[in-house]
């Protein structure tokens, strides 16, 4: 009798255990958003600079052949926007509604074109979308602003130096700060130790 009870208990507990696993699997929700493109791939994408599109190139496209996304806030969008633009604020890029809009465009093989106040802010949204797996992406290199009750856009060239830095330093006889440099230069040496120091430092302290 005792042995029978034991086997019963074991079988009941086994069934319960299996039940927990099955329920766990059934109720497990897939995260809705995953990064699909790896960081290495993103870096490659960024370094190609093929995703940056000038206004002139953009204007050559047919209006139906792309989805133009305005990543500014609702308020800014309501004041004025580029024609055909759909408003998906940066903060709402992960909303299910925005996902629908993007997915429908992607399914009809339309590239996504992103713009915002300036290329920097739009680029953040652009990189997010790329990492979520949307490969057909363009970033408009424009600045948009609201002036005298009208919406304006202006082309902007990124990473353009305003001065020839080295030349202005020479002509204005600004001495490059060699005097200060040697004091703080040992930085590289410290850095090799960076990954380890915290743990290692604790050890000798305990020993003392």
């Amino acid at each position: 009798m005792k042995e029978l009870e034991k086997t019963r208990r074991i079988s009941i507990s086994a069934v319960l255990f299996l039940l927990v696993i099955v329920i766990g699997l059934l109720t497990f929700k897939k995260p809705e958003f995953n990064f699909i493109n790896s960081s290495d791939k993103t870096l490659e994408f960024v370094n190609n600079h093929s995703h940056v599109m000038s206004l002139a190139d953009f204007q050559k496209l047919d209006a139906d052949s792309y989805l133009l996304i305005d990543v500014r806030s609702n308020f800014d969008y309501s004041k004025g926007h580029m024609g055909h633009a759909v408003n998906i604020p940066k903060s709402q890029l992960l909303d299910p509604e925005s996902k629908k809009i993007i997915e429908t465009a992607v399914s009809s093989e339309k590239p996504l074109i992103v713009y915002g106040e300036n290329p920097e802010t739009a680029n953040a949204a652009c990189l997010l979308l790329y990492q979520l797996g949307y490969n057909e992406l363009k970033l408009l290199s424009i600045r948009s602003y609201y002036e005298s009750k009208e919406f304006h856009i202006a082309t902007i060239e990124m990473e353009k130096p305003l001065y020839d830095f080295a030349q202005t330093m020479k002509t204005e006889s600004i001495q490059p700060v060699k005097k200060i440099a040697p004091k703080t230069k040992p930085i590289p040496k410290k850095k090799k130790v960076i990954p380890q120091p915290k743990k290692k430092k604790k050890m000798p302290e305990g020993g003392c």
Binding site: S38, I174, I194
Partner: protein, 190 residues
């Protein structure tokens, strides 16, 4: 289900968006200059431009990590760490921002972006603009700070003092010329 989870390298998209929306990553040139002058030991400047551009000119004590070599083992050690406040910069903040975004995805800590990059550095620290007369006292204080900071970084005493001298000159000349002639007359009489 499981393979997709494993692909999930770095932080979640939700956290990525949260960090991306925050402007805490931007550090102004004035704050940076102040920290450099005070020789902040945890400050580390990282130039994300190409090696050529870096060799021509860069900010003092900066380390060059071209964006294309972001994941190079040696150079990546500058970014993937928790000891320094790493300030990324480029000509403006486009490339630096890209580097920040990739670092953010990987979950790197203590990364910052120099707001406006070297262009802003030149416009504020190297060549600060004289505030207008109607501007507030703070603007003048900021200007004098920038002037002083500029001197620290090697700018000679230039534009400002010349402007001031030009204004003062005509007043003093008028006073000087008159008295000398008058004094000579009575002396001759005696």
């Amino acid at each position: 289900m499981i393979p997709q989870q494993q692909k999930h390298e770095g932080i979640t998209p939700q956290l990525f968006v949260k960090n991306m929306l925050s402007t805490e990553r931007y550090i102004s040139t004035d704050v940076l200059a102040d920290r450099m002058i005070n020789e902040d030991p945890v400050l580390l400047l990282v130039d994300t431009r190409t090696t050529e551009a870096f060799q021509k000119f860069s900010l003092p004590n900066a380390v060059n990590v071209p964006l294309s070599q972001f994941f190079d083992e040696e150079l990546n050690a500058y970014l993937d760490q928790e000891v320094y406040d790493v300030v990324l910069f480029s000509n403006d903040n486009f490339t630096a921002d890209e580097a920040w975004l990739i670092g953010n995805r990987m979950g790197y800590q203590r990364l910052y972006v120099l707001d406006g990059g070297i262009n802003a550095w030149f416009e504020t620290i190297i060549k600060p603009k004289l505030p207008k007369e109607t501007m507030s006292r703070e603007a003048y204080e900021l200007y004098s700070f920038r002037k002083a900071a500029g001197k620290f970084f090697g700018v000679a005493n230039d534009t400002l003092e010349i402007e001031v001298k030009v204004k003062k000159a005509p007043v003093s000349k008028k006073v000087v010329t008159k008295p000398k002639k008058k004094k000579k007359m009575p002396e001759g009489g005696c």
